[in-house]
Point group: C2
Chain length 432, copies 2
């Protein structure tokens, strides 16, 4: 298949995440021929997936049609396609809808859930990296409660009301906080027949503190917020097994639960074919300072999938939206320079800080010279997330939802549109 409309250099971008979009925009109105491919026809605003999973936001508010993003960009074609392999020597990618030629290839595939090879956990626990996964989790939470209502066996009833979030990074902290609010403000009213005290939310973190990449101050405050909201925070704890009924941790201890949310790690979403590339820890592709994958002279990687060692970041940059955005912008400019035989600029990360929200009026913000927590941090978090959310309609609808949720203490999207079929999963995913 041919994507060649012009004689301009052909750039293929794999992935319409934060990095891919920023890069493509930098190429608007330039003399290049851009093809973006993505498995989905929409951009996912991943930082808010946990709010979809807990009924606070509609899925459509955090999914933005990629064709709409590039509606006015004449030099870009978009295809919904699953990239099967990179044929680097032929300068081609092979996809489920055919092959495409490139002069320059950019891997912006982001990351996927890392189960660290534990097939049983992968099989039974809920990841939360895509919109369908967030919707599955939303259905599961509600289905568990509907089932608990009619369950006679006390052990199974307990398991249906227990939720274990594994991994105390921003996603784990935000998800367990949102679950606590769901418990305290929504489920308590929705299920008066159940004793809501029996719903337990555990947050299990392997290191000695939640939000370990943040400041000590932020970690401590986040933990305090979580405890205030009733989350059982367990640090220095390692999960061993989960068989669909019982989570085992620290070798000897266990929790009965039918709801394990896995946010313990990510790995780069690698595409086969980059045999010369060096894949480092976490499945990231080693690049030079210009995001060029080492071993190639025409294949680049940006965002979560890229691993670049610099003086300030000797172990690579953080796997956050800002890295992807900044690398996408920089590479956009660099590609034009490379095409024009000019010298590209090495990437220099500007750390805008980190933030995570725990619940209403409760968030933590780490800036370079200023760390703050609580109500003002929570306002900051909301403002920044609205700012980066793609699309005017999405911004307005999300803001309305947040206002309604805030004043009503409610979560309006607690609907089971598609039932999550535990057994279907058991059949399909069965790798064990």
């Amino acid at each position: 298949m041919d994507n060649n409309n012009t004689q301009f250099p052909k750039i293929i971008i794999i992935g319409g995440g934060f990095g891919g979009i920023q890069l493509a925009k930098k190429l608007d109105k330039k003399e290049v021929d851009v093809l973006m491919v993505d498995r989905h026809n929409y951009h996912t605003f991943q930082p808010l997936l946990y709010q979809v999973a807990t009924g606070g936001l509609e899925p459509d508010s955090i999914a933005f049609p990629l064709r709409k993003v590039f509606r006015h960009q004449k030099n870009l074609n978009f295809r919904v396609a699953d990239v099967k392999q990179i044929l680097a020597t032929e300068k081609k990618i092979s996809t489920d809808i055919g092959d495409f030629d490139y002069d320059y290839l950019v891997i912006a595939t982001g990351s996927e859930t890392n189960f660290f090879g534990q097939a049983e956990i992968e099989h039974f626990s809920m990841p939360m990296k895509t919109v369908p996964e967030a919707l599955n989790l939303r259905s599961l939470i509600l289905q568990n409660f509907e089932e608990a209502l009619i369950e006679k066996d006390p052990k199974r009833k307990e398991a249906l009301m227990n939720f274990v979030v594994v991994g105390g990074g921003p996603t784990g902290v935000e998800t367990s906080g949102a679950l606590a609010e769901l418990k305290n403000h929504v489920l308590i009213n929705d299920y008066p027949e159940l004793d809501i005290k029996n719903m337990k939310i555990y947050l299990i973190e392997g290191s000695d503190r939640v939000l370990s990449p943040f400041s000590q101050e932020a970690s401590a405050k986040a933990k305090e917020f979580l405890k205030d909201m009733g989350v059982i925070v367990m640090e220095n704890v390692r999960v061993n097994h989960y068989d669909g009924d019982i989570v085992t941790y620290n070798d000897t201890q266990s929790i009965h639960t039918k709801g394990v949310i896995w946010s313990a790690g990510v790995k780069g979403a690698i595409i086969p074919g980059l045999d010369k590339a060096e894949v480092v820890k976490g499945g990231r592709l080693k690049t030079n300072d210009y995001n060029l994958i080492e071993g190639y002279d025409d294949i680049f990687a940006i965002g979560d999938i890229a691993y670049m060692e610099t003086k300030d970041y000797p172990h690579g940059h953080p796997g956050v939206a800002q890295t992807a955005i900044q690398q996408g912008q920089q590479l956009g400019e660099n590609l034009l320079k490379i095409i024009n035989k000019e010298k590209p600029q090495p990437f220099d990360y500007y750390d805008k800080g980190s933030m995570a929200t725990v619940g209403r009026n409760k968030a933590v913000v780490d800036l370079k010279h200023w760390k703050f927590q609580g109500f003002f941090a929570w306002l900051t978090w909301m403002f920044v997330h609205l700012l980066f959310l793609v699309g005017f309609r999405n911004k307005v609808v999300t803001l309305i939802n947040w206002i309604v949720n805030y004043f009503s203490y409610d979560r309006g999207s607690r609907v089971i549109i598609r039932k999550f079929d535990r057994d279907a999963m058991t059949e399909e995913q069965k790798p064990i």
Copy 2:
């Protein structure tokens, strides 16, 4: 299983649609013990399903959690359950989560798509009576366009861009109008590589006019609106077959299409076990003037599933939300009268009129003494639909979407969250 909390009479309502909700609300704070069961945990606002299917609204805006509706109603329990059978002699219903006893039973199950026994059509065409079905259709429309983009075979490309709506009632008219707007304002921009002129939208109606239950004036104007928007309106046309590729009509003619939307009829969603009931045309249960199913003294039917002959409506009441709402309210009052050994009131339908929208600024309204069409009708339609939409958040989010859609000519929810798998359908539903 026992749902008996008190010594009060036990009323079971099957179905949380317009009728079931109104009925249950009339029983609030009364000395009765109410159990509502529904297959879903939410109420579906069916009149706006077509806007979900065409990317204009989020699914969550028209789905409202039933537990939230009855949050403050102490004498009502709700269960997500699939009713398998009515055991009338034992005064029980049998469901997938157990049996429940009743003193009075109300069937408010509404209607389902009627394929009139045509298994092949049922197999290959898209119904639109539930939220998942509307989402399937949304995915199909977008997937067809993504596929058309890469299709080389001109016949198949044509089939992917042709849409045939069968049935010219309000749903068919509204859906084909919305498809035309999607074509004229959205798809034309999203797919500049395709020649949008090749997208054809057919509306096929068996009788001599679209909106046949409406006034002649409304039918004529709706047809004019549709034609202006580019819909090919075919009246007095009967569909014979659809094999997944070709629709055959009037015995000899055909259209190549991969998208057939079936809105040609509904039938009552009957539950087995009512052996003494008379099932009339369209699968409706014959009732007396008090919504009591003939042959029983404790089982009632309201809304789409009920068939009541009265002087003014010798062939039953129209299958619309208003009938269900009014019958639900009346039966609520009557049940309390029956329990108190008072004389119930016969049902008297108050016709508030009919309306359908075709596109922006284009709607038709039939009131008893006033018929009007166009911009003011369109405003009226929106106002009435917002009024009946359940929930403050849903009203606000829907209004915002309508405003944004109106000024931007856009449809923001054109995302394929779950791919519609034609082949999976072929495997699962295979009744032929």
